[in-house]
């Protein structure tokens, strides 16, 4: 920003904060006849409201400032000029990120005099202020990198801003739900009074997270530190994704992103049994006999870890009919292409991803002292394989049927939404329950639930069901793939005839 514009924007921001500060002061602390303890309490409330307001401001301002960073370059056609220079995408992205991130820090610094009022008057300490600012800056970093990622794959600045806000909203809702589940620990509701670091992941739980710490083994680790590590890992993932979008032909970046995905899936698989198993039954007040069977985690957490694959498969398994050769089918299944992002490497990579999630869950479970899974679970492992093959076949079919990659992705996303929500929606409208649910109510049960591919995830005891679903999904996936090959051949013949 150049000229007088930033001056007026920042002045308006400070005036806004001053107004809120003065208004809050006169309606609470400034009242006559207030006791000292009441004044202290009001000041703490004043500080809390300021921090929540700053959290909200960051949710809005960080993505708004960053979302147009790359898409604007693309629109003014200067991106090719930059990419034709000997500059690696990571430097470009980090530069863009620093450029946007410094404005977020400027907003925090400009808010400092107002926040300092509550320190001077006794509502908070400087440690509280700086810890809150640190956590807020972590969130701003996540939003900035997320907006940067979105900026690399949309074509219009307005769309980039809208998608960034949607992305931030999804993150805020998900992280707030995670933080809310961690909150009871602080009140002594869990097996331990130390809340997990997930409490520090939401910008609206900064105040609860600021002085908390998590027990790792016997070591008490501050949650802000773990949130910082999480932030860096998430930013790395977002920036790698952005770099792949910027330089799709750079096989090193593609490989780096995919290896990072494998490591993160392994880490998630290992972390979930560790963080949930010992404490969660106490938090929800469940009786010990209802405490999860550790061996069940091996399958269920493994299956759960590919849920994100379900959400992301519309990007992973599609390829375009225009653009670079990278997006053209270069085979059906090739281990050699596992990490380079080409269509031939999609299935082996997705299977590796599932494998790493399952391995992580298994090792995590063993680490917390869980029992080894019995042989009866082995057939259930066919479910994730079937799920992956189904999503892969569907992606290839839609890629072959659509001319543009965007259309293929959109249809894939819609198809998966129908698969995921279709049956539950239908059944909830019909007010029926799955046949395996023992309900005391007069709600009728229905076997139609078994048409839902995710039924084995809920009906955990039925491993034969997971096996059967796995086989069926593999068959459907392969059928889709054959259909795609047929379509591609026909289209190629049409094009060569037209040429």
């Amino acid at each position: 920003m150049r000229g007088s514009k930033p001056f007026w924007i920042f002045t308006a921001y400070v005036l806004c904060l001053c107004f809120i500060g003065v208004w809050t002061y006169w309606t609470s602390i400034g009242r006559e006849g207030l006791s000292l303890s009441s004044a202290q309490s009001e000041l703490t409330g004043f500080f809390n409201s300021l921090i929540i307001m700053l959290g909200a401001a960051i949710c809005v301002i960080s993505p708004a400032l960053t979302a147009t960073a790359i898409v604007a370059e693309r629109q003014r056609l200067s991106l090719d000029l930059v990419l034709s220079a000997p500059v690696e995408p990571k430097y470009l992205l980090v530069g863009k990120m620093i450029s946007s991130y410094r404005y977020t820090w400027m907003l925090l610094i400009l808010a400092l005099p107002i926040v300092a009022m509550s320190v001077v008057l006794g509502g908070a300490t400087w440690k509280d202020v700086f810890s809150c600012f640190l956590l807020l800056s972590f969130h701003a970093m996540i939003f900035t990198s997320m907006a940067l990622l979105i900026s690399t794959f949309v074509n219009k600045p307005a769309a980039a801003v809208i998608y960034s806000f949607i992305g931030v909203a999804i993150y805020v809702v998900a992280s707030s739900m995670l933080a809310a589940t961690a909150l009871p620990f602080s009140f002594g509701g869990g097996a331990s009074t130390h809340p997990p670091f997930t409490i520090a992941l939401s910008p609206f739980f900064v105040l609860q997270a600021v002085n908390s710490s998590m027990l790792i083994g016997s070591v008490e680790v501050p949650n802000w530190l773990l949130a910082g590590v999480f932030t860096l890992l998430l930013c790395r993932l977002f920036l790698l994704g952005a770099a792949v979008n910027l330089a799709p032909l750079d096989k090193r970046i593609s490989a780096n992103l995919r290896l990072t995905g494998l490591l993160y899936t392994f880490g998630l698989g290992a972390l979930i049994p560790y963080s949930i198993h010992p404490a969660m039954p106490a938090v929800v007040g469940a009786s010990p006999e209802l405490a999860p069977d550790p061996s069940l985690y091996v399958l269920n957490i493994g299956l759960g870890s590919i849920c994100w694959l379900f959400l992301g498969s519309w990007m992973l398994f599609t390829y375009g009919r225009t653009g670079s050769r990278r997006f053209w089918p270069n085979g059906h299944f090739s281990l050699r292409h596992t990490l380079d992002g080409t269509p031939a490497g999609q299935l082996p990579y997705a299977l590796l991803l599932v494998g790493s999630g399952l391995l992580g869950a298994y090792l995590g479970n063993r680490w917390v002292g869980g029992d080894a899974p019995s042989d009866s679970y082995a057939p259930g492992l066919l479910w994730p394989v079937g799920f992956v093959v189904l999503a892969w076949g569907l992606g290839h079919l839609l890629s072959a049927a659509c001319r543009e990659m965007k259309s293929a992705r959109a249809f894939h996303f819609c198809a998966e939404m129908v698969i995921f929500f279709g049956i539950p929606l239908l059944m909830s409208v019909a007010r029926t329950a799955p046949s395996w649910v023992k309900t005391d109510s007069d709600m009728p049960t229905s076997g139609l639930w078994y048409l839902w591919p995710f039924a084995p995830l809920i009906d955990r005891g039925q491993f034969w069901l997971a096996w059967a679903y796995g086989v069926v999904m593999i068959c459907i996936g392969l059928w889709f793939k054959l259909w795609a090959v047929n379509l591609e051949g026909r289209r190629a013949r049409e094009l060569s005839y037209a040429g």
Partner: protein, 309 residues
């Protein structure tokens, strides 16, 4: 030296560039001619390392576009057919930014910026905002941007499009000057007469195939089987054409207008003199004699069919 070896680009069943090969030496100005969609920009983008070739490669001073793209990028200046200018940036800041991208040491940058501004005749606009420049000036600024790191190869994609005649003439002179400075320049353009003026070699591309490549004169020579002579006389052109057609080495002769006869002649300069001598001896009163030269546009039209991918 630039060596382009069987560069090929496929988009599925569509082949945008079909094994283009040529080589250029320092000081060469290569005109890349082709209709829209012929494959010029795709070829240039592949040399600029912005597109991955399906097969083939290009080597610039020992650096391969596939094996060492960063080194290639250090040695090229790429000017696309659009400006790509930043708003609210001054001319010198724009050049300084790109000089930094090309890792030009910060102490050398002011001097280099002054030099390229002088070369492109933009010194007086050094402190101006880029959006305030005229189209011709913006074009020259883009060229100046390509020069900040002293590249060995300049890739200029339609550099003269949208320029007025004066700006076009200035740009032409500037490109010729760059050739004299020992840089390899590849220029793609639709405006063929201007390419013929300063290019010492050309490549004609259609549907991704390089139909002809080499020095302009050689290409014209190879296509021109007969010279086209124009005789202007005070005699009856039909009668004169009939007489000329009977002379040796004459392929055809026809009256062009009320005073002129067009002759397609297979001989050289000696034979041309003999033909003129024979016409005058016969009593025809010749008042004008000239050879109609084939230009690049004729060559292009003869070689290409107008088909696109």
């Amino acid at each position: 030296m630039l060596e382009v070896k069987s560069l090929r680009k496929e988009y599925g069943p569509l082949t945008a560039v079909k094994g283009v090969s040529f080589s250029l030496n320092p000081g060469d100005i290569f005109g890349f001619i082709g209709s829209n969609g012929a494959g010029k920009t795709t070829t240039i983008k592949m040399i600029a390392t912005l597109l991955e070739p399906t097969s083939g490669t290009a080597v610039l001073n020992g650096a391969d576009i596939l094996g060492d793209p960063m080194e290639v990028r250090r040695q090229i200046g790429y000017m696309p057919d659009f400006f790509g200018l930043y708003d609210e940036v001054r001319v010198w800041e724009y050049l300084d930014f790109f000089a930094a991208l090309y890792r030009v040491p910060s102490v050398d940058r002011p001097g280099i910026i002054d030099n390229v501004l002088e070369l492109t005749d933009l010194t007086v606009k050094k402190g101006a905002f880029v959006q305030s420049l005229s189209r011709g000036m913006q074009q020259r600024l883009c060229l100046a941007r390509c020069l900040v790191h002293d590249p060995a190869l300049l890739l200029l994609d339609e550099p003269a499009s949208g320029l007025d005649p004066r700006a076009r003439a200035e740009l032409k002179e500037l490109i010729a000057e760059l050739g004299r400075m020992g840089k390899i320049v590849i220029v793609s353009s639709h405006i063929l007469p201007e390419l013929a003026d300063f290019c010492n070699s050309v490549g004609i591309i259609e549907r991704g195939e390089l139909l002809a490549c080499g020095p302009v004169e050689d290409i014209i020579q190879s296509l021109q089987t007969a010279r086209c002579l124009m005789l202007k006389s005070l005699s009856d052109p039909v009668e004169l054409a009939a007489f000329i057609e009977r002379l040796p080495l004459v392929q055809s002769a026809r009256s062009h207008d009320a005073t002129s006869v067009a002759v397609e002649f297979l001989g050289g300069l000696e034979e041309q003199a003999d033909l003129l001598d024979a016409v005058i001896r016969q009593g025809y009163r010749v008042v004008g004699y000239s050879e109609e030269l084939v230009d690049l546009e004729d060559v292009f039209l003869r070689l290409t069919t107008g088909a696109v991918n």
